[in-house]
């Protein structure tokens, strides 16, 4: 045929997107993969020799004197803390975000824009500054402790700053809008007549929430959870400032390898582990949620 087939034209038209995808996503990822299998340079960078030492060091450590191998407990603690804090952040943002999104979606249309606008205001300020603001709230002589001591609930200031709790508060605050916005989009599309239908068919208020509202707005919950969980797992600024450097998360640990640690291959390997955790979490999440449809019926 003289004319080019639609399939070939389609490929041609999508080249800009493909090039961008390659330069922006696949290229850098390939570099990270390659670096994870090289030897670290003495001061920084890499030596171009194939090595799996970085991967070994992710999970194990070798004693400097007698070369005995043991589990790298510190690393596993960091992984676990990252996953735990990210899951908790997702949970907290959902618990706060769902009623917030519901509230906004049930306002008259003219007021909705104002509420949504208010939700996005924190985005206007630099993350670093917002994190320092949280620091001001939770530190020993900060707002929270002063208030609690003034009311007499506590006698001495609580040590919140430089603990996991501070990191959690900071992350929940930073990522809350990412939960609220997709939830709002889902609730906004929700047909409120279905609530009446549920009540009418003998469902109690909790049953209506569990059996009608939550399953229907599930896409919003999934989207919000992914948007919060993924950046939480790789968070760097918040745990660095509020965790005080001792309570590291994966992000800080990776940074350490590229900076003071001068071990780029280990940093690259850790980045890939982070990617893997995210991937596993997403697959698990999608599987769990997509099975729900068939589960909650009686047939």
């Amino acid at each position: 045929m003289a004319r080019s087939s639609p399939a070939r034209t389609g490929w041609l038209l999508s080249t800009p997107a493909l090039i961008l995808l390659f330069i922006g996503a696949l290229g850098p990822l390939a570099i990270v993969v390659v670096y994870a299998f090289l030897e670290p340079g003495e001061y920084s960078g890499v030596v171009w020799n194939f090595s799996t030492e970085a991967w070994f060091r992710v999970f194990f450590e070798r004693d400097i004197f007698d070369d005995t191998v043991s589990m790298a407990d510190a690393h596993l603690t960091i992984f676990w803390r990252s996953v735990k804090l990210s899951l908790l952040t997702t949970f907290i943002t959902f618990v706060i975000g769902f009623p917030t999104a519901w509230f906004i979606a049930t306002r008259p249309p003219t007021q909705r824009a104002i509420w949504l606008f208010l939700i996005t205001i924190p985005f206007w300020t630099n993350l670093l500054i917002r994190t320092f603001a949280i620091m001001e709230v939770v530190r020993n002589q900060g707002l929270l402790n002063s208030f609690l001591m003034w009311t007499g609930v506590i006698g001495r200031p609580l040590q919140i700053l430089y603990t996991d709790t501070a990191v959690l508060i900071g992350m929940a605050y930073v990522y809350l809008p990412l939960m609220v916005l997709p939830l709002f989009a889902a609730i906004d599309r929700f047909d409120f007549k279905l609530i009446e239908a549920g009540y009418d068919l003998y469902a109690s208020r909790t049953k209506v929430l569990r059996r009608v509202i939550l399953p229907i707005v599930r896409p919003g919950i999934v989207a919000g959870s992914i948007l919060v969980f993924v950046p939480s797992l790789g968070a760097y600024v918040t745990p660095r400032i509020l965790g005080g450097g001792k309570n590291m998360m994966i992000g800080n640990f990776i940074e350490l390898q590229f900076g003071q640690g001068r071990n780029w291959p280990l940093g690259a390997a850790l980045s890939l582990i982070l990617l893997l955790i995210v991937l596993v979490a997403l697959i698990a999440y999608v599987r769990v949620t997509s099975n729900d449809g068939g589960r909650d019926g009686q047939t």
């Binding site: 009540y199 003998y202 009686q298």
Partner: protein
């Protein structure tokens, strides 16, 4: 109080808002719906019929007055504790559940055993002829099919009363006619009390055992379709149900006379002597009659197939429509501008207050 009452509404009012902006959607309405009957609430939009339905369903509570279901005051009972189910105008089927799961939802919430739910769902699917669609999602069904599922879902828990909020308004004419018969069949088969809300007077006349006509938050008349059609209590009911001609007349010696003195064949009570009244007469009860007492001019004739509508003008300018059966030739032989005499079928003229 009444032995076989399914629903009793006692002086129920519903007011929205407060102060000067308060809207009285329902104004001290009292009504008794009998067990097993097909009762229709008929009225234009905004007349309060849907508000009344929502009060019975429990989605709203009356500002004053009571709602009794099966003799018990349920005014403050939430909808999930009333043995009443609703078919919503928009159907409100659960999009995340299959047809079977939708139908079984009510029974499941009532905590019925699985086997019983399964049987009931199968029975309901058969009743509305949707067996083949059991595992589909509502989004994959046509409007008529969704309608059937909504009906089956509301009927499955075997409620005391089934409430239907303009359920046919989203369907096209042909489907609507089918569903009217279908609804009537379902009501007869199940024996459940149906309370049906509509603004379509034809729908109300064809399906109902009794009709309640509403306007501006008030219940104007309750009665069988024939009663409502032939003996409307006031001008609003006469006008809203079917087509009606209105004449203004003054009663002299028990006989209503038009302004030019022509007598109308009807009897007025002697107590109204000297008073001005409104006379209502249906177009099919108007006759072109050379012996008739009233003079009229033909304004135009409109051919409708089986009928021909003949628009007439009386001496005082009142316009009147006569619905005449079309003769085999199709031409009733009357021309615009022609002068004729008309009369009314004996007993057809209603005398209305207001």
């Amino acid at each position: 109080m009444t032995e076989n009452a399914a629903v009793e509404v006692q002086k129920a009012s519903r007011v929205y808002g407060a102060g000067s902006s308060a809207v009285r959607a329902l104004d001290e309405v009292s009504l008794t719906i009998r067990r097993g009957e097909f009762f229709t609430l008929l009225g234009p939009s905004g007349c309060g019929k849907t508000t009344l339905l929502r009060l019975i369903a429990g989605f709203e509570t009356p500002t004053t007055g009571q709602i009794l279901i099966d003799g018990k005051d349920v005014s403050q009972t939430p909808p999930n504790q009333r043995r009443v189910n609703t078919v919503f105008q928009s159907y409100a089927l659960f999009p995340h559940l299959t047809v079977s799961q939708n139908i079984g939802f009510g029974l499941e919430m009532l905590g019925r055993p699985r086997a019983q739910i399964k049987d009931a769902v199968a029975r309901m699917l058969a009743l509305v002829k949707m067996e083949k669609m059991a595992d589909r999602r509502p989004q994959m069904l046509s409007g008529g099919q969704q309608q059937r599922v909504a009906l089956a879902r509301a009927l499955a828990p075997e409620p005391e009363v089934l409430l239907l909020d303009e359920p046919l308004s989203a369907l096209d004419l042909k489907l609507r006619k089918e569903m009217q018969l279908e609804l009537k069949r379902l009501q007869t088969e199940t024996g459940i009390t149906f309370v049906f809300v509509t603004h379509d007077q034809e729908e109300a006349l064809t399906m109902s055992d009794r009709i309640g006509v509403m306007s501006a938050g008030n219940l104007l008349q309750v009665g069988a379709p024939r009663e409502i059609y032939n003996r409307p209590v006031n001008r609003f009911v006469a006008d809203f149900i079917g087509e009606t001609n209105f004449l203004t007349a003054t009663i002299r010696n028990g006989i209503p006379r038009l302004s030019n003195g022509e007598a109308v064949q009807a009897k007025g009570p002697a107590r109204l002597d000297g008073k001005t009244v409104t006379l209502a007469v249906r177009p099919e009860q108007v006759r072109i009659d050379p012996e008739g007492p009233i003079h009229a001019t033909i304004a135009q004739t409109v051919y409708f197939g089986t009928d021909t509508h003949c628009h007439l003008r009386l001496a005082d300018g009142t316009e009147l429509v006569a619905r005449l059966q079309s003769p085999p030739s199709g031409d009733i032989g009357l021309k615009a501008g022609e002068k004729v005499r008309i009369g009314f079928v004996p007993g057809a003229v209603q005398m209305l207050e207001g």
